[in-house]
């Protein structure tokens, strides 16, 4: 690839492209990271944990040495309206002896002790890498514990080395499917609610986002049966088969679950996105269209009009200050990246670089289709690549996760966390304003004025904002 810099690793070339420069719009993705690279990627366990962790009344027990549990202790930022049990960190803290002689006994003890203490309806037991190697029979231990305590004890097959984060999403979805699997004839598949009831997949209620969307839906006459998994409880999740539609927000983590729910319970699914005004309105319209209900369609239109009008002047104010700024995107999944591009367009901001950790081929196809010419598109980028393209493209702002923040700041590039560390809800109409506000807060901060004095850098914002 002629546009690749000398310090781009050869094997990485096929994972980077520039729109308009190459004829083929085909990107190598979903491959394993290369040994010896500074990859920003996480593991299977990480993927499984982020999906399941928001189940608030569950005991999340990490079977492994202490680290895997420590690093995931309450970092997700998903809010609960009830139990706070999920915010504790439970680990079997495997020691050398357990590694040699197996950790099954300790695991069984841990489950016993925790269940006695917390009376939870479900225990998720996460396998970490070591467990995969020492060969503990998680299934057997969990089955026994389930019988003993009369609750669900579900193993999550999330040993880190069996793939990347996406494999973890799937492991989590498998665990959820086991949770909702009907245990009696009381809830035969196909026995749908009379009311318009949906499951909302792929919202983890970060900063209360699921609550915002649930409220919109209520206003147009749709009841959210359960969210997967933001602010969810075991008992709600088990009612999932009763819904008449599944809507998916974070497709990366939940597409598989939606497919399974369709197959097993005959619930159709639809992709939605509540990021940005355009996508939010479009999503509400398609939900109303699905139910073929005139009243609902009317209510949806009213809501869209009302909410759009309510944020219009604020959005225009931000747009005025932010237009022609340049943004770079590096996020987990492809679908989020796509929504972000649209959202930046609403603010008049040009996206000059876009990448994901786990985007899939069809996501990259869409990204390529909607990106402007010259936009750099990349999969599983390392920090040097992020630096190089942000600098080359003169990005003022990076959207990313925890590891990217200080990198951006060092370059004099403003930053927004669109991951676990986000502070305000970014979904829906309110979220669109919050997003604009966050962009403005960082891009137009006076600190860049002083930062500029240190020489180098892209330095967001100034002078016009």
């Amino acid at each position: 690839m002629s546009t690749a810099a000398p310090n781009v690793i050869e094997e990485r070339e096929s994972s980077i492209l520039v729109k308009g420069r190459q004829r083929k719009s085909h990107l190598k993705c979903d491959a394993d990271s290369i040994a010896g690279c500074v990859s920003q990627r996480a593991c299977v366990y990480c993927g499984a944990r982020v999906v399941l962790n928001p189940v608030t009344d569950a005991i999340h027990l990490v079977h492994g040495p202490i680290g895997c549990a420590s690093y995931t202790w309450d970092i997700r930022g998903s809010l609960s309206s009830g139990s706070e049990l999920y915010r504790n960190s439970f680990s079997t803290d495997l020691k050398e002896n357990d590694i040699i002689f197996g950790g099954e006994k300790k695991l069984a003890r841990a489950i016993d002790e925790l269940v006695e203490k917390y009376k939870a309806p479900v225990v998720f037991v996460y396998a970490t890498c070591v467990v995969g190697v020492i060969g503990d029979d998680l299934e057997a231990v969990c089955k026994k514990a389930a019988q003993k305590h009369g609750i669900q004890v579900i193993p999550v097959q999330s040993s880190g080395f069996i793939g990347n984060k996406s494999a973890g999403y799937q492991a989590a979805c498998d665990a959820l499917l086991r949770l909702i699997e009907p245990r009696s004839a009381a809830c035969p598949p196909g026995n749908k609610h009379e009311v318009k009831s949906i499951n909302y997949l792929g919202d983890f209620n970060l900063a209360g986002e699921a609550w915002i969307i649930t409220e919109y839906l209520r206003q147009i006459g749709v009841e959210v049966n359960t969210v997967f998994t933001g602010d969810s409880k075991c008992s709600n999740l088990q009612k999932a088969p009763e819904a008449s539609l599944n809507i998916i927000q974070c497709a990366g983590s939940m597409f598989y679950l939606a497919q399974q729910l369709e197959e097993l319970y005959g619930i159709p699914y639809m992709r939605v996105s509540f990021l940005g005004l355009e996508d939010t309105s479009a999503s509400l319209r398609s939900i109303a269209a699905f139910f073929k209900d005139l009243q609902m369609k009317r209510l949806a239109e009213e809501l869209i009009q009302r909410e759009t009008a309510a944020v219009k002047s604020q959005m225009e104010g931000y747009r005025e200050k932010l237009k022609h700024k340049k943004a770079a995107i590096y996020v987990g999944g492809g679908f989020k990246a796509i929504s972000l591009i649209k959202q930046f367009r609403e603010l008049g901001i040009d996206v000059v670089m876009v990448g994901t950790q786990t985007g899939r081929e069809e996501d990259y196809q869409t990204l390529h289709d909607i990106a402007d010419d010259g936009t750099v598109i990349l999969d599983d980028a390392n920090p040097s690549e992020l630096e190089r393209f942000m600098t080359e493209k003169g990005a003022h702002l990076l959207v990313g996760g925890v590891k990217e923040r200080p990198l951006a700041y060092k370059l004099g590039v403003a930053f927004i966390d669109h991951n676990h560390d986000r502070k305000h809800p970014l979904s829906g109409y309110v979220g669109a304003v919050n997003f604009a506000r966050e962009v403005h807060a960082t891009v137009c901060s006076p600190v860049w004025k002083y930062a500029r004095g240190t020489g180098g850098g892209n330095y967001a914002g100034l002078p016009q904002c």
């Binding site: 593991c43 420590s70 040097s384």
Partner: protein
Amino acid sequence: MLDCTPKEVIKRSGGLINPAKTCQPIGAMYAALGIHNCLPHSHGSQGCCAYHRSHLTRHFREPVMATTSSFTEGASVFGGGANLKTAIKNVFDIYNPDVMAVHTTCLSETIGDDISTIIKSAEVPEGKVVIHANTPSYQGSHITGFSNMVKGMVEYLARADTDGKKEQVNIIPGFVDPGDMREIKRLVGKMGIKFIMFPDTSGVMDSPMTGKFDMFPAGGAQVEDIRDAGNSSLTMALGYYASSTPANLLERNCRVPAITLKTPIGIKATDDFLMTLRSKFTLEIPYELEEERGQLVDVMTDTHHHFYDKKVAIFGDPDILTGLTEFVLSLGMQPVHVLTGTPSGTLGGPQGIFEKEINEMLAAARLEGRVKAAGDLFELHQWIKNEPVDLLMGNTYGKYIARAEDIPFVRVGFPILDRSTHPYLPIVGYRGALRLVEMISNALLDRQDRDAADEDLELVM
């Protein structure tokens, strides 16, 4: 709401609830960042590396660069040798550090990869070094991992190659923030002694904003200096858990005498540190440091009535805790609960040395308290429910307990994920002690102000 901890203490044997420690590799990674131009490398699946980098990034708010062997299922069956060799090649081809510091993970340890053999058979470019440390997380804690990586530095780098020893001291600072390392260097500098500090994360994990991203920031211990550490006349290991093993190894390998001291937190430990330097190198303590000490004592006398009889619970890493416990005792407080997650006998040393040391301090002050190594925060919380305290000190994870029990909270130690500037400001030395006095008394007095009835609100305190 966040209070899920029952008061009644029950015996547990099935793992930890709300840990007060984390795993070895993150300590090794942090130590390796204290070598100039060094790239830490995590030999295992990519998840561990991502977690360790994120966690360090959250505490230091700095980019943390490290590579991984990216194990897949194949590697976990056939061993990770091929991955590591590829990684070594790629690391030098692409990132070109002077040193690559490999640490293992639970996975590669369990599989049993023999790292030194793999390194020996790998192609390492001329003038470059690959060092390694075994860091299985099913032993010890992040402090053990730090210690093991520093041991790796000694093993691979330090050499005794002069006749006789040089008038210079090696300082192994332990798992402390870069601001602490700077302060220790300042103190030794003021004493006028030539020193080599390793690892030294100052200038790496507290690097300035320049508008550029440096994969390898300007700070860190130079490789030549670590080599030369074999020629020093003394090694001072600050903190038994993080620093004594590498210091002892250096004594064995290069015959540099080693002394282990407490991390110089608080007035007494700082005195000990400076007095040791003075006696070993027959120097005078300069007036400036005497002045700093006098100022600290001045502030301690000005404020001691705030601390009288106040009960405090402290948790965190063992080396920090010994200094902190000693210091709060010297302020007149009562450290009734002291807990670390790090197991006490990790280093093959006598079991229970942590508990013994703290209990002796308490006994000397005619106090009794609960002291425990290898504990967790669930247990600490239960202790506090059974014997309430006026103040909690520890890392960010203490905030749940502080909120549930409504007690003032001073953040100190690792990790601090919800506040900033701590990496820059020391808690060691007399200056650091002054800062501790400020933090502790602010927390106590802010609470007193908050709770005061209108008629009791005081202007002068």
